[in-house]
Symmetry: C2
Subunit: 256 residues, 2 copies
DNA sequence: AGGCGCTTGTGAAGACGTGCACAAATCGCG
DNA sequence: CGCGATTTGTGCACGTCTTCACAAGCGCCT
């Protein structure tokens, strides 16, 4: 399956550890494992079992083991995983050993918040440039960065070696911005605008739509309501009431 | 995922469009179809083919037809789907016929932006209350709403009949807020804090982690880089360069 | 050294999601 | 009225993801 690194020196110095191509589902979970590992490391754990890490990451332990097995064998039977080692390994696989530069386009309501979001900096990214098409916003300083006009994007992208672009514009402007990003050499885009982007092959797009998340929750609310309405003999079956605090059950993740 | 799987699906009372239990993957796409439909309606279309709608929503037409077939048969062969009818149908299934109240907890950087995000109001939701634990922020007015102290959550939740809570606090506070939301009767939570929440059965949680999205993109960047480094005989590697604008290819969605 | 308990890594089976390809249904037109 | 063009709805095969269950490996204790 995977070409195990030689057990002797885990230092991956030598041969380029050609990335195994991981299942997408696994890739999507690795960041969650990484977050959990950092948290565990801070709590003083030097090793952690798959069970413990799975709990911290909110997944099933078998799934976690299979995910990690795709990266190679970095656990010790009878003991667990070395936290520090695993952190390094996952960060390497995710390409976080270099701090990637991110360009943020659209400094409106949301863009403002993203520009100031500390979570990016603390998790491997550097917000390197801010852009907006509105001259009224150009020149504003946020977090030590000056908002530049979007036409300067190509130049700035090269100067700052930007590989990832974040689109936080209104939907109407998003496709144009995407084209500009691609033209400037950006090959990964995170799109917050509620619209479909068309990009050339080789460019990756991920979309985050806040309203969609709420709508999915709304569906489940609707279903829950219609379920408690029918089988429960009482009419307006309102079950939820205070009383006790969250008897911590297992996380009930909705969808993926 | 949802463990509510009644095998025999007790014959649901006939004619009423009682909710069929849709596959989660379908539920996650319905909002996207809805957005595309609104866009098409605005453009004047009265009917739309599966092919057209699929393109507008960025999916494959067979998948779209199968998704819609789960809601019942609302298309006409040889013609397509009636846009207005389909909008109504999807809005009903998603439970958007009633405008759901949303409580937003954590009025920091991100919370501020969410409180002012027009997309919520325009897509079926009403941000009904804002909360924060920091007394310094209590009293601030955003978009016509006053920030209240989080301790008032139970009372406000009932008054405003809140069913959905949005957590935009730091990770350290998120679990406590989730407990408070649950205690106040909230049964759906959208969590922006980078941590795992533990909630009782019957409460649905969806998570949005902005840094994770970037990390997934980073992985693909890393992989693309390591691929063009190895096999490319001669500089076949770097395709992307200015000159031409994005030859619009198909959307290359990464993961889900 | 040997045995015992614990934990990883993985084969196999099942659930789920996707996409093709085509029969069935509908409309418009001659 | 019949025919052809069009488009839906779906059976089927395939690939991906999840989960179980267990052998193999490791450390510790006696």
């Amino acid at each position: 399956m995977s070409q195990h690194r030689h057990p002797g020196a885990p230092g991956r110095a030598g041969a380029v550890p050609a990335l195994p191509d991981l299942p997408e589902a696994t890739v999507a979970r690795l960041p969650e494992y990484l977050r959990a590992l950092h948290q565990l490391a801070e709590a003083g754990h030097e090793t952690i079992s798959s069970e413990g890490l799975a709990t911290a990451a909110g997944v099933n332990s078998a799934k976690l083991r299979k995910d990690l097995s795709h990266l190679g064998s970095y656990g010790t039977r009878g003991v667990g995983y070395d936290v520090a080692l695993l952190v390094d390994q996952i960060e390497f696989v995710l390409g976080l050993t270099q701090r990637r530069g991110v360009a943020l386009v659209g400094i409106g309501n949301l863009g403002h918040a993203l520009a100031g979001y500390a979570g990016f900096a603390s998790r491997g990214f550097r917000v390197a440039a801010l852009f907006d098409a509105d001259p009224a916003r150009v020149g504003e300083e946020i977090n030590g960065l000056i908002v530049r006009h979007v036409d300067e994007l190509p130049r700035a992208a090269v100067e700052e070696s930007i590989a990832i672009g974040v689109i936080a514009t209104p939907a109407a402007a998003a496709q144009r911005v995407a084209d500009q990003l691609v033209a400037a050499g950006v090959t990964s885009i995170l799109n917050f605008a509620p619209c479909v982007l068309s990009v050339p092959e080789g460019v990756d797009v991920r979309k985050v739509d806040l309203a969609i998340e709420l709508q999915i929750l709304s569906f489940h609310e609707h279903r829950k309501a219609s379920l408690t309405a029918l089988p429960a003999t009482g009419g307006a079956g309102f079950t939820a009431l205070p009383g006790g605090l969250a008897a911590p059950g297992t996380q009930e993740a909705v969808g993926t």
